[in-house]
């Protein structure tokens, strides 16, 4: 009966009205309803090095192939920045161990970020706080912040969310990763979850150092001597005291220290208070997160503000014992290193280079099969 009436109306010249009804129905399905697309996120088993502390993965954000793929796409897409000019990868370049080679990064409109872009290598293991000052505890929280930082992406999440919802691909990708039902379900928290999932896959454990540890390679004489100096492993060699804060296998304790790079009269005088601005404890002023030394040859310039252009400058700083302040870590003390010791240390540090991500082509080539099919 209904079909008969429709045919009659069709004949009566109501084709145009019917056409628009169909368009509206289709538009409605496409824009707001994604349930017709299958969503069965595939669990992703991260291969963790046996000697690394176990990675903390939140129960509400398990790794999935689809989540990682979405995170990877977002990481390399400038869509999140105000003028669509910068992506996460603009300051975290894979070939530079996810740093940018600058003393301080440059944000939207050429604005200078107050600190250097830290390496993201093994960032999934950072359980003592993220950013140089430890102001957030999870990658999910961290991923929310650069988007709205005026010196970085200078955007608002409202704008970024709307762009993602209107995009031709992202609604489908979010659907596949998180099972959302409508485009309006796309929000900053899901975007951050996807980015966090991708970042947790940036595991680096294939340097020469790692191969030596596994018995698959041997240090040269210089490298071994540098290793002994680094870890104070020989009574006959001087110590560089590096191993206290840059302990293997992550080559960081992830702790926060004042390493004496800033000359101040009192603890209140630090221009950048670092951890102290987060905790409110004056004894935390001037403390910054100890960075990993993995891929150190790729991550110049050094320190949270990139003040040292070369490793030679870094060594000179530590050999001097650094500037005095009441909270300078006592492991930072005058060293008795000769030129040969420095060369051996550099030989050892070169063994920490891991090319896993150096030739990263984007997106979709993070080493795992992350295809969206």
């Amino acid at each position: 009966m209904m079909w008969q009436r429709m045919r009659e109306r069709w004949r009566e010249g109501e084709r145009e009205r019917l056409f628009w009804v169909l368009i509206i129905v289709l538009w409605s399905c496409n824009d707001n309803r994604l349930a017709y697309i299958s969503s069965e996120p595939t669990p992703y088993k991260l291969e963790e090095p046996a000697n690394f502390v176990k990675m903390q993965i939140p129960a509400d954000n398990p790794l999935t192939k689809e989540g990682i793929a979405l995170g990877e796409r977002l990481f390399f897409d400038p869509i999140l920045s105000a003028d669509s000019s910068l992506s996460c990868a603009s300051c975290h370049i894979p070939s530079l161990a996810f740093t940018d080679g600058k003393a301080r990064s440059v944000g939207v409109g050429g604005k200078t970020v107050r600190r250097s872009a830290p390496s993201l290598i093994n960032v999934g293991y950072h359980y003592k706080g993220l950013f140089w000052d430890g102001r957030v505890q999870s990658l999910e929280m961290q991923a929310l912040m650069p988007v709205v930082d005026h010196s970085e992406m200078d955007n608002s999440w409202e704008v970024a969310e709307e762009r993602l919802r209107r995009h031709s691909d992202y609604p489908i990708l979010f659907r596949r990763a998180f099972g959302i039902r409508r485009t309006s379900d796309i929000d900053r928290y899901l975007a951050a979850k996807a980015l966090a999932q991708f970042e947790r896959t940036l595991v680096n454990h294939n340097s020469k150092f790692d191969r030596v540890q596994r018995g698959d390679a041997k240090f040269t004489a210089d490298e071994k001597r540098g290793w002994q100096i680094f870890f104070d492993d020989s009574q006959e060699l001087p110590t560089s005291e590096c191993g206290h804060c840059h302990i293997d296998p992550l080559f960081t304790t992830l702790g926060f220290f004042n390493n004496g790079i800033e000359q101040v009269n009192t603890l209140g005088d630090f221009r950048d208070k670092g951890l102290g601005a987060v905790t409110g404890h004056i004894s935390d002023n001037g403390k910054f997160r100890t960075p990993t030394l993995r891929n150190i040859m790729l991550t110049a310039p050094y320190m949270h503000d990139g003040r040292f252009a070369t490793l030679d400058e870094v060594f000179d700083h530590y050999i001097s014992g650094g500037h005095f302040a009441d909270n300078v870590n006592p492991n930072v003390r005058k060293l008795r290193l000769r030129e040969q010791d420095k060369k051996d240390l550099i030989a050892f540090l070169q063994t920490l280079t891991d090319s896993t991500f150096v030739n990263y082509s984007v997106p979709g080539s993070s080493g795992a099969d992350l295809s969206l099919q």
């Binding site: 502390v53 176990k54 009574q235 909270n327 006592p330």
Partner: protein
């Protein structure tokens, strides 16, 4: 039918009995308060008078305990009640007097009600744990850090601070003592008179005098003018400090 009813009643009784036993537990807190001599130990801010008119400040003092157990009053020497398997007692975040007076507490809330005559623990990281590394643990865990890979073991005790050796008011002489080795591990036992009551908590207080760790007396102390660090490299130094640590831990009834 009658048999089924009887069976049901018996099962109910058993279940009720099990529940009753589970509830006959109390909590026991072990609190460790550190001092330097008699002054509460506070990181960074406070300075402490040492021997020979030297003054010290600290940034870190910590040590491990393993296999903390309570010895029941009526027990043979082999039956003990486990309290905590491994704990890191760290004063790193003790940044004020209030925190220092509060101390560091480790708690266990499933201690069977009853009387206990002693508390026992290993000072350091027991060899079975010292054979592991942070790769065996998911943070937060006492053993997720403080591992010294080149020594293949954990640092049992750390003291880090600064000395004012020349009396100029600047604490710019660095002190770092990182001690750990299986040979240093030892068991300590302290007599207590403790009654754990169902649903209630009890506290056992310990005091640790860091000055006692660094010194035996005015004529027998670690001279920080000449010895400013040890990474378990000089037996004379690390044995001295670790033996002193054992003496510095005292129970406070």
């Amino acid at each position: 039918m009658k048999n089924i009813l009887w069976l049901g009643a018996i099962l109910l009784l058993i279940a009720a009995s099990c529940k009753d036993n589970d509830d006959k537990n109390g909590q026991v807190d072990l609190t460790f308060k550190s001092t330097f001599d008699t002054a509460p130990l506070v990181m960074y801010d406070e300075q402490y008078a040492y021997y020979d008119n030297l003054n010290l400040k600290f940034q870190l003092f910590q040590f491990y305990l393993t296999d903390v157990v309570l010895v029941p009053d009526d027990a043979t020497s082999t039956t003990t009640v486990p309290h905590t398997e491994i704990a890191l007692i760290s004063y790193k975040d003790v940044l004020g007097q209030a925190a220092a007076l509060q101390g560091i507490t480790i708690s266990a809330n499933k201690i069977p009600a009853g009387k206990y005559k002693a508390v026992r623990f290993g000072l350091g990281v027991a060899p079975r744990f010292n054979a592991t590394n942070p790769g065996n643990y998911t943070p937060p865990h006492p053993l997720d850090d403080h591992y010294w890979s080149s020594m293949l073991g954990y640092v049992f005790m750390k003291i880090e601070g600064n000395a004012d050796n020349d009396g100029d008011g600047l604490f710019n002489d660095k002190l770092t003592f990182h001690i750990g080795a299986n040979s240093l591990y030892r068991t300590m036992e302290f007599p207590v008179s403790l009654e754990v009551k169902e649903g209630q908590s009890s506290t056992i207080n310990f005091g640790i005098d860091l000055k006692r760790v660094m010194a035996v007396s005015a004529s027998d102390f670690l001279d920080v003018r000449t010895v400013t660090q040890d990474h378990t490299t000089n037996p004379e130094i690390y044995n001295y400090l670790y033996d002193n640590l054992e003496q510095a831990v005292q129970i406070k009834q």
